[in-house]
Symmetry: C2
Subunit: 159 residues, 2 copies
DNA sequence: TATTGTTATACTCTATAACTATA
DNA sequence: TATAGTTATAGAGTATAACAATA
């Protein structure tokens, strides 16, 4: 077998090889995340929201009147990065920035009816994507995976 | 309790709330990945390699004489994106681009002794980061997690 | 015609720093 | 002095498209 073909075979079998890289949690985490993220983007409409915008909308629907700084903390991003996300949701008519009596620095994020409706519709599409993409995992395995990932995420609050 | 303080408390308890977002695998995957990735970068020296460069070096050490296109496929990125990674490794003296007899389009990536040495040193640092960062997980849970992530990654080969 | 490596280019996500208006 | 939102800017990391050399 020529050298290059042998290398290709090695590459093909690499996934099954218990090599240094493959034994790292972080490496497996990244590869799985990238796949899931790409599938999210292709599964939703071309004009569908990014994961960040979807997450923000979900939290605003769940916690109406939340401020941008609280939302940024909840999402684990800087408040400066949230501005464009909120702008997009406002442009789409999914929320409005409402003044908060007693502190004029703050603007409460209030979901509109259209925002709640859009969230529910998108959530259904996201759930369909998850059902299809993680179909190789049983319900028990999915619960197990979420539980393990949550254990890792506990460090969020310690930061 | 004033409204804003109530929102902050809600945000603080959000991690424990079985909300729509929290029940999604993709969301948990992303949050856990971002934490692990940030910890990787801070745990390694300031001049340490990025995750991509580390992964590339690992594969080049494991598969000496691999071509760039085979390496790009193995890493799941475009071949154009690999150029800067290989350039960095070559600049550091960790590999050389060697001509391949019989096909002058191709350049084999050959790790140098310094490259192998650097890889081993960095791998030790990465393992230390993983031991510390995932210390809340038992050995059995770590194995379980890797197994579940690998199940998701099987889609890589189906693409 | 097809493939390998490369360059040019642009887009997404994110961070840091500084500004403004308020507190 | 400190905080909320904003703007400007920059840096990863990635992709697409096109090119030159070679097959």
């Amino acid at each position: 077998m020529p050298k290059v073909a042998a290398q290709r075979e090695a590459a093909h079998n690499y996934l099954e090889d218990p090599s240094d890289l493959e034994s790292l949690i972080g490496y497996n985490l990244k590869r799985a995340y990238v796949l899931a993220h790409n599938d999210f983007r292709t599964a939703l409409d071309a004009d569908g929201p990014s994961t960040r915008v979807f997450s923000a909308l979900s939290m605003i629907v769940k916690f109406p009147n939340i401020t941008q700084i609280a939302l940024a903390r909840m999402m684990g991003i800087e408040r400066s990065g949230l501005v464009a996300v909120v702008d997009e949701l406002e442009t789409n008519g999914y929320l409005r920035r409402a003044p908060v009596p007693g502190d004029r620095r703050v603007q409460a994020l209030v979901p509109t009816d259209a925002g709640v409706k859009a969230y529910k519709k998108t959530l259904a599409a996201v759930r369909a994507h998850e059902d299809a993409f993680f179909s190789d995992l049983s319900a028990a395995e999915k619960d197990q995976l979420i539980e393990l990932l949550r254990k890792i995420r506990r460090r969020e609050t310690k930061a």
